[in-house]
């Protein structure tokens, strides 16, 4: 960590503090603190919406997933722009702004509660946000903290605390105005960083067609474990189908990847974004439909620069690592044996000289090396040794050159991972190895900005849910003070979760929160904007049905979430519910694919058989919203 990097980060933090101070000085009332006086500039609102939406996990986490699964993730980039920006702003944003303004709503729970005239909805929605959003905040906190810990070489426990305190220190005093101003700066930094990453990657791989062709030609290198679940190459969709009931193990899982990519990643995040409370509240911060129309321009371009670039570059990193990577350093040992355990998937351990023959047989070979500037007393770095690996020994006093010739995910395998590697390390490794050193500083600020802007929006929303939507319901008082207390409580809960969980939870926790929000809120929010008939009972039934269905599927049916929650194992003695009489594909279908239709059906059927919403209240909600 050199002087230039540290001084750049300090300068960045000083500008963030100055913007937060501007927000603090402009905050006079609860409306200022919660919806920025409903008078935000459209470009600031669009950048804030985008920067809150895109966290470190979108760039590093999902970029790494694209390196593993391929360019099929670009369907998520399409949905993020078309659904997350165009439909959200043009079809739903205008009505949300008008109805929210007319009803005097300052938060998402308050908005749907006033729309359906129900105190239960207010408390239920606020409780869901307060209980489950810290899970998502924990994922973002953990993603940012892991990156800071690696970059500054400090323990993860310390970086978690520093990162959380820095964000909360400016959110508490300055409210949404400080969040919006700092988001706009952070969004601009993110845009610059990603434009450079995009251009540099294509330029160095010989142009667009050449880069794609090289990636297509690498399909024979797809690992057998990924081929078994349907991976057909990095520029192809996974194999599509539905496994027959009672199929043998190979046939039962041959379509798993398609369902993981399409139902969890593409639909879970691509459609789930429409029901994110911290994003919906952004629509209520602008003063007219005209501002929303103008915000669409910067919003659409910004999201393309984030996800379109991250997913494309993530997939293309395979070409760089396989064909172009050169590690300049000193080779310490050309043959280090590491044991992946009897299962082949345990954390790698060095093989002692007196190890049994069986252990030596299954051990994997690595090359140990040190980079210039590495501590000579620290353990050396490791890179997997395959027949493709080449070493060019330097003359006495000169550096050696290692050409690993690995695909991206194999390049991340080292002494602290399993043989599956760590997809979260692919993008940072790519930036560190393929791009000029000065860009490392820009990218550091890009990721810091992505993490800080998302976390600040989450903390503000959690604080508002506890202070404005829960405390004030039962004991009216100083709204802003209660929200500030709520933010502190939210921080402690998220931080506690961040310390309690291990690694590899970022994507699971993010998808889980998006799924819960989508299943619980999406039908009552979207239909509530356009259909007068549903009354409070129909809305409550829909929210409860969506929530219960989603949580049941998460805890008992979806293999990945059920296994990580462990509830099913405690009750039924197996990690998730499965049976030879039904298709194994059910166990990779995302909870949201079941939860959203359940909630929609309940809302529509109940609304049609029950009395319509009180006419006077419906007219009150819609008269002005209809003009939007």
């Amino acid at each position: 960590m050199d002087f230039l990097t540290i001084s750049t980060v300090v300068l960045y933090l000083m500008v963030v503090v100055w913007l937060a101070y501007k927000g603090y000085k402009g905050t006079r009332s609860a409306a200022d603190y919660l919806v920025a006086g409903r008078n935000t500039h459209p470009a600031i609102m669009a950048l804030s919406y985008g920067a809150t939406f895109i966290s470190t996990s979108a760039i590093v986490g999902f970029g790494g997933v694209a390196a593993n699964f391929g360019m099929s993730l670009l369907w998520l980039s399409f949905l993020n722009i078309f659904v997350g920006i165009f439909l959200a702003f043009v079809v739903f944003g205008g009505r949300t702004r008008r109805m929210g303004h007319h009803l005097g709503a300052h938060t998402f729970p308050e908005f749907i509660a006033k729309r359906y005239n129900s105190r239960f909805i207010h408390v239920f929605a606020a409780l869901i946000i307060f209980i489950f959003m810290p899970l998502y905040a924990m994922a973002v906190l953990r993603g940012g903290a892991e990156f800071i810990a690696t970059t500054f070489d400090i323990p993860i426990q310390v970086s978690l605390l520093i990162f959380a305190l820095v964000v909360v220190a400016y959110v508490i005093p300055s409210g949404i105005k400080g969040v919006l101003f700092t988001d706009a700066l952070q969004g601009a930094i993110m845009a610059v960083g990603m434009i450079f990453l995009f251009v540099w990657t294509y330029w160095n791989l010989g142009g667009i067609i050449s880069a794609h062709t090289q990636l297509t030609e690498m399909k024979t290198l797809v690992p057998a474990s990924l081929q078994a679940i349907g991976h057909q190459g990095w520029t192809s969709m996974p194999k599509f189908g539905w496994a027959p009931a009672g199929a043998d193990a190979a046939a039962a899982h041959q379509y798993d990847l398609w369902w993981i990519v399409v139902s969890t990643i593409v639909m879970g995040v691509g459609i789930g974004v429409l029901a994110q409370p911290q994003l919906i509240v952004r629509f209520m911060t602008v003063k007219s439909q005209q501002d929303l129309n103008r915000a669409v321009v910067s919003g659409g371009v910004f999201i393309y620069l984030m996800v379109g670039v991250a997913f494309t570059v993530g997939a293309l990193s395979n070409v760089y690592f396989f064909k172009h990577e050169r590690i300049v350093g000193k080779v310490v040992n050309e043959q280090v044996l590491m044991d992946p355990g009897a299962s082949g998937n345990d954390p790698l351990k060095p093989v002692p000289d007196d190890a049994p023959e069986e252990v030596k047989q299954r051990a994997k070979a690595f090359v140990a090396y040190r980079l210039p500037g590495d501590n000579p007393m620290a353990p050396p770095r490791l890179v997997l040794k395959t027949p493709n690996l080449r070493i060019e020994k330097g003359a006495e006093g000169e550096w050696d050159v290692i050409r690993p010739g690995l695909i991206s995910v194999a390049r991340t395998i080292n002494g602290s991972t399993t043989m599956k590697g760590n997809v979260d390390q692919i993008i940072p490794l790519f930036v560190q190895g393929a791009l000029p050193r000065w860009f490392g500083i820009i990218f550091l600020l890009t990721l810091l900005s992505a993490a800080m802007s998302t976390l600040s929006g989450q903390m503000h929303t959690i604080g508002a849910a506890l202070g404005r939507d829960l405390f004030e319901q039962f004991r009216p008082g100083n709204s802003v003070l209660l929200i500030r207390i709520g933010i502190c409580v939210g921080l402690m809960v998220s931080l506690g979760m961040g310390y309690a969980v291990g690694g590899n939870v970022i994507a699971v926790a993010t998808a889980a929160f998006f799924g819960i929000c989508a299943s619980t809120f999406m039908p009552v929010y979207l239909l509530g904007l356009y259909w007068k008939r549903p009354n409070a009972r129909a809305a409550i039934a829909s929210m409860v049905a969506g929530f219960v269905t989603n949580v049941f599927w998460m805890a008992f049916v979806n293999a990945k979430t059920a296994a990580s929650l462990g509830i099913c194992a405690k009750i039924f003695g197996k990690p998730y519910l499965s049976s030879p009489s039904w298709s194994a594909t059910w166990n990779v279908v995302d909870p949201l694919v079941v939860g959203i239709p359940a909630a929609f059906i309940v809302l529509v059927v109940w609304a049609l058989i029950d009395r319509p919403m009180d006419r006077k209240h419906a007219d009150y909600c819609f008269n002005r919203a209809a003009q939007a």
Binding site: S72, L215, Q289, N293
Partner: protein, 42 residues
């Protein structure tokens, strides 16, 4: 092969992402001065 991409469906996602961003720009420019008046009414 479509622009070096093997699968038409992946190529479609690549193109649609670009077109969706372009749609946002065109819509925003066309409606730049359209939209309701700010609410002062409540």
């Amino acid at each position: 092969m479509y622009l070096g991409i093997e699968d038409f469906w992946v190529f479609l996602a690549y193109v649609l992402s670009l077109l969706a961003a372009l749609l946002c720009v065109i819509y925003g420019v066309i409606t730049w001065n359209k939209g309701d008046e700010p609410i002062t009414d409540i």
